[in-house]
């Protein structure tokens, strides 16, 4: 229901370690109308220019604290608050080339009162500087 706001326009950039790009990151919000314990965030999947990155390559950062998607599954304390901007960090040797990229983001949330998972999807053209 807040799908169009999932990808935040600002903050798309490569991430470097020791001067070498080891991946990229972008800022994102959940598409749901309340905050959720992160154990109920089943998946956050990033696709850039048609290439979908593996779940293992993805890290979520909330308030400076990084978590793998797998670790989130059994974390019953941390919450991703309503409208809160978090960061998705994707490991990719060399990062992305500068310029325009088509970015797709798909979230799968486990909402207790729904029998099916809530899927959210956003797609935006972002410029990586």
């Amino acid at each position: 229901m807040f799908d169009k706001y999932m990808i935040v326009e600002d903050g798309f950039r490569n991430v470097s370690e020791n001067g070498r790009a080891i991946g990229f990151q972008l800022n994102t919000r959940l598409p749901y109308y309340r905050g959720l314990g992160v154990s109920m965030v089943e998946d956050v999947s990033v696709t850039v220019d048609g290439q979908t990155f593996p779940r293992e390559a993805t890290t979520i950062v909330l308030r400076g604290r990084p978590m793998s998607l797998e670790a989130m599954e059994t974390d019953y304390r941390e919450r991703w608050e309503f409208g809160e901007v978090g960061t998705v960090l994707v490991r990719k040797e060399g990062g992305l080339a500068p310029g325009v990229h088509q970015v797709d983001l798909t979230d799968r949330l486990r909402i207790s009162y729904l029998p099916f998972p809530l899927l959210g999807h956003d797609s935006k053209q972002l410029v990586l500087k």
């Binding site: 807040f2 905050g35 309503f82």
Partner: protein
């Protein structure tokens, strides 16, 4: 014009979710907005606008009460959720559910709410077990009667049986006016058209809705008409949108604690496109309802892809309409 009554006006902050989500308003800003509209009853959703819920510091509650005093507002209702699927591999146990509901009751009491909204999917047995604690907290638990449920649905009947059997005064109802969708919402229709549905089929479905045809039949017919996936989804939406008789509230009035004044589309200051408040409010008055009409704007999700959302203007229009419909002669 209405006869004498004690119905009050309020807002569920759910209505301002778009503005809060985008950080155009913070919690205090939401409260101030309601106060400015003269809608003084404040319904809140801890998990939506109170980061850290359910573990909020004393300072939060102190600030909350300062805001209430400052803006002249009154806490009406806290909306609980129950994350039965918190764990990936199992549902919450009954005891865990009880603990979760108790935390919500505690929070409602600390906010100063007299009522807590119980999600319609919560099992009546769980709510029954919480009655003693609700009594202790002096908070009434109101089951939200949310579309496609209605007062005469067998699931709701289980609650009615429990209320009658226990003679509790701490379990009742919060009807969500989304159970009185008399006309198919225009915003949903237009949203479907923007997302691949076919005008001819949309019109057929809306017409069938007005005729109260069984959704199964409409869905099947849309299949025969060769509709697209979007058309089929649109037809399927009939399963979740209902019109029922507002006069059915009369029988349950002693147990109605609060009202969710759901709306999708205030056309102007006089009418909602699909929910006939001019039929609903007279029933509430006739039944002697004396709680709040708590605005619940849910139009944003149907227009945000194409139009700017102005929840405040929508709520404002609804309250002008309420003032008019509630005005005593």
């Amino acid at each position: 014009m209405a006869t004498q009554h004690h119905i009050k006006r309020g807002v569920s902050l759910y209505s301002l979710q778009e503005e809060y989500f985008l950080r155009k308003l913070d919690l205090e800003g939401c409260i101030a907005t309601c106060a400015r509209l003269g809608a003084l009853g404040i319904e809140s959703i801890g998990e939506q606008m109170m980061p850290g819920f359910p573990k909020l510091p004393d300072a939060f509650y102190a600030r909350w009460h300062q805001w209430m005093a400052h803006y002249g507002t009154v806490p009406t209702c806290h909306d609980m959720f129950l994350d039965t699927k918190r764990y990936k591999d199992r549902l919450l146990t009954d005891d865990e559910m009880i603990e979760s509901i108790k935390a919500d009751l505690r929070h409602a009491a600390r906010l100063g709410c007299k009522v807590m909204r119980v999600l319609v999917s919560v099992k009546p047995e769980m709510v029954e077990r919480c009655i003693p604690y609700a009594e202790e907290c002096n908070v009434k638990m109101g089951l939200e009667i949310h579309s496609p449920f209605h007062f005469d649905h067998p699931w709701i009947m289980r609650y009615t049986e429990m209320i009658e059997r226990t003679r509790t005064r701490h379990v009742g109802y919060i009807p969500d006016m989304g159970i009185y969708v008399k006309r198919f919402p225009r915003v949903m229709r237009d949203h479907a058209l923007r997302h691949g549905a076919t005008e001819k089929i949309i019109d057929f479905v809306c017409q069938a809705y007005e005729e109260r045809v069984l959704p199964d039949y409409v869905i099947f017919d849309v299949g025969l008409m060769g509709g697209s996936e979007a058309d089929r989804r649109f037809a399927e939406s009939l399963r979740h949108i209902i019109w029922s008789n507002p006069r059915r509230m009369l029988e349950f009035m002693p147990h109605i604690y609060h009202v969710h004044a759901k709306f999708y589309d205030m056309v102007d200051e006089t009418r909602e496109y699909s929910i006939p408040y001019e039929e609903i409010i007279p029933v509430l008055i006739e039944g002697g309802y004396d709680g709040y009409l708590s605005s619940e704007y849910e139009g944003n999700r149907w227009i945000q892809d194409a139009y700017p959302v102005d929840s405040i203007e929508q709520v404002r229009r609804q309250h002008v309409m309420f003032e008019h419909l509630l005005a005593t002669r």
